[in-house]
């Protein structure tokens, strides 16, 4: 085994570009380990963890790029380094010293109509950039994560003081004035305003609303940690204020995983005073607690969309329970004796929670790397146990790779791994579309799905693959084309994630009855 580490002083590239290059090189034959990253402290620790601990790595700074490769022989290492350089050159990715705008200040000076700032720098620098943007009078949308909660509160208090909107940190999806931001889908404008502490939650409800013919007035992402008590729900509170005031918004939908107690209380107090109808989908909260605020309770994302649409005068048809049962029974009959369990492989964190809650009634507790209860936590996310659902967006998978909505490789490998387990009966998948995610999420794993089905059928069984596509016809990938590709491969495509999980759970229950 040979290793080569090269440090390129004063060559700055953004982390997403370098992650793509790392992913591209990982696919090359003969390469065992590769990492292309800037020399930040966090990245240097990863280099040490993967056995690339050299003096040059130790001395590298955040403006220096590091390429580290381990391969079977020296020639493969050299080739990989050359390829990395070629890829960087091809993308024209290097940030040159002479750029038009090197700071928020100069950008705003050049265009005084600037009104919104997207910040996606490494977490440790996000606060400084956010403060500069707010002080320049810009509303902010902060994609960066790993920002301490105290800093998040400080940023949000400054935004509040200035009357500006602060979405994030850790905000992956937003829709402002009909424009989709970050990894969100393209949806039409309409009467439903959403404020969400869950990116995929905001996206799923927006997509369901769009597909039913209505639209979104504004989709405010608060960032995943807004409803932690150390932050206090500051963005959700200002989001409710803004949507209540906004003339175009007729119905307000609030979405989050279970908020912490004080933040929940503040939000519910505010909702109680809101003059517009509010639908709340806070997963894991008691229905009675929500109802006391005068809000409409939604137990999952699909129900939130359904109830919002109903208030906007549109009926979203529910799946016929008898037909769902028939479909579940038909698939369970074809399975082999060994096939017992559901294996969920997800990109969207909130989809994991929605799926587990949907299936729990039929199949009981489910193991996960993000379980509903800590006793069901998987030791290792890549080793499933009984009924398991894995969030591929979890840190374990995204330390040195892009999020699975962009980089589909880790999940593609997971699909084959699960198929090789004779106990796998049902595979449950989500696919997320949008202008800034993978250009062909289904196409990039469809061969793995076909191979997985073949592996199981060669063993004498039948693998049921159940999926949903979160996206619209307006997205570059087109929802219908992605769904069609799945159907052609024999995948059962459901209307939404909740319906997909419900069907998967019923298949397992039906199989258990037959055992």
């Amino acid at each position: 085994m040979e290793s080569v580490i090269k440090v390129y002083p004063n060559q700055y590239y953004d982390s997403v570009q370098l992650m793509f290059i790392t992913s591209a090189l990982k696919k090359k034959q003969g390469i065992t380990t590769v990492l292309v990253a800037m020399g930040t402290q966090a990245n240097k620790e990863i280099f040490i963890d993967i056995g690339m601990n050299s003096k040059s790595v130790g001395e590298a700074g955040p403006n220096d790029m590091i390429i580290g490769v381990s391969a079977l022989d020296q020639a493969t290492c050299d080739q990989a380094i050359e390829e990395a350089q070629a890829l960087l050159k091809a993308e024209g990715a290097a940030v040159e010293d002479k750029t038009s705008y090197s700071s928020v200040k100069s950008a705003v000076q050049a265009n005084n109509k600037a009104n919104l700032c997207i910040i996606s720098v490494p977490g440790e620098y996000a606060k400084a950039e956010a403060i500069k943007a707010l002080n320049s009078g810009l509303h902010t949308l902060i994609f960066s994560d790993n920002v301490p909660l105290e800093d998040e509160r400080e940023i949000k208090l400054l935004a509040q003081e200035k009357g500006l909107l602060c979405m994030g940190p850790d905000c992956g999806v937003a829709n402002i004035n009909g424009k989709s931001f970050l990894v969100g889908s393209i949806v039409r404008k309409g009467p439903i305003g959403i404020c969400a502490a869950s990116g995929v939650g905001l996206q799923e409800v927006s997509v369901l609303v769009h597909e039913a013919g209505s639209g979104i007035s504004q989709g405010i992402g608060t960032g995943g940690k807004d409803l932690k008590d150390k932050v206090g729900g500051l963005t959700m509170l200002s989001g409710i204020d803004a949507l209540e005031k906004d003339e175009e918004t007729k119905v307000i939908v609030l979405i989050s995983r279970k908020p912490e107690s004080k933040s929940l209380e503040s939000v519910l107090d505010r909702v109680a005073k809101c003059v517009k109808p509010v639908i709340i989908c806070f997963m894991g909260c008691e229905k009675e607690e929500i109802l006391k605020s005068g809000a409409v309770y939604a137990h999952n994302l699909e129900a939130a969309a359904r109830k919002a649409l109903s208030l906007a005068g549109i009926v979203l048809e529910e799946a016929d329970p008898e037909k769902v049962q028939e479909l579940a029974d038909a698939h369970a009959t074809a399975m082999s004796k060994e096939q017992k369990y559901v294996r969920g492989l997800f990109c969207g964190g909130t989809f994991v929670e929605e799926a587990m809650v949907a299936m729990r009634e039929d199949i009981g507790d489910i193991y996960s790397n993000a379980p509903l209860s800590e006793e069901f936590k998987l030791g290792k996310a890549t080793v499933s146990y009984k009924n398991s659902v894995v969030d591929y967006g979890d840190e374990e998978f995204t330390m040195s790779r892009p999020h699975p909505v962009i980089d589909t490789e880790p999940r593609a490998m997971g699909i084959i791994r699960e198929a090789n387990d004779p106990e796998t009966a049902v595979m449950l998948l989500d696919f997320v579309l949008g202008p800034a995610v993978n250009s062909d999420p289904v196409g990039s794993v469809i061969n793995n799905i076909k191979e997985a089905m073949k592996i199981v059928s060669d063993r004498g069984g039948k693998l049921a693959v159940v999926a949903s596509v979160c996206g619209t016809e307006a997205d570059p990938q087109k929802r219908s084309l992605q769904q069609e590709m799945l159907r052609e491969a024999g995948v059962i495509v459901c209307h939404d994630n909740y319906q997909a999980a419900l069907l998967a759970g019923k298949m397992i229950k039906s199989k258990m009855r037959r055992a």
């Binding site: 705008y101 950008a107 700032c117 996606s120 500006l164 989709s180 200002s238 803004a242």
Partner: protein
């Protein structure tokens, strides 16, 4: 103070993008004006030096 958010909702978006170009490009393709800031850590990422520069108000 809410007026500024209400004003944003009624305005044409002019977006400053700090970080990966792909996020700016995705918004530009939807018809919004995007100004790219080619960000890199100041002062080689030296936090003490950054703090001094910020205190001087030069950035």
């Amino acid at each position: 103070m809410q007026n500024k958010i209400d004003e944003l909702f009624k305005s044409e978006l002019v977006v400053v993008n700090i970080g990966p170009k792909m996020f700016g490009d995705a918004v530009r393709k939807q018809g919004a004006e995007v100004i790219q800031v080619d960000w890199k850590p100041l002062a080689g990422g030296d936090k003490e030096m950054i703090a001094i520069l910020e205190a001087l108000g030069g950035i």
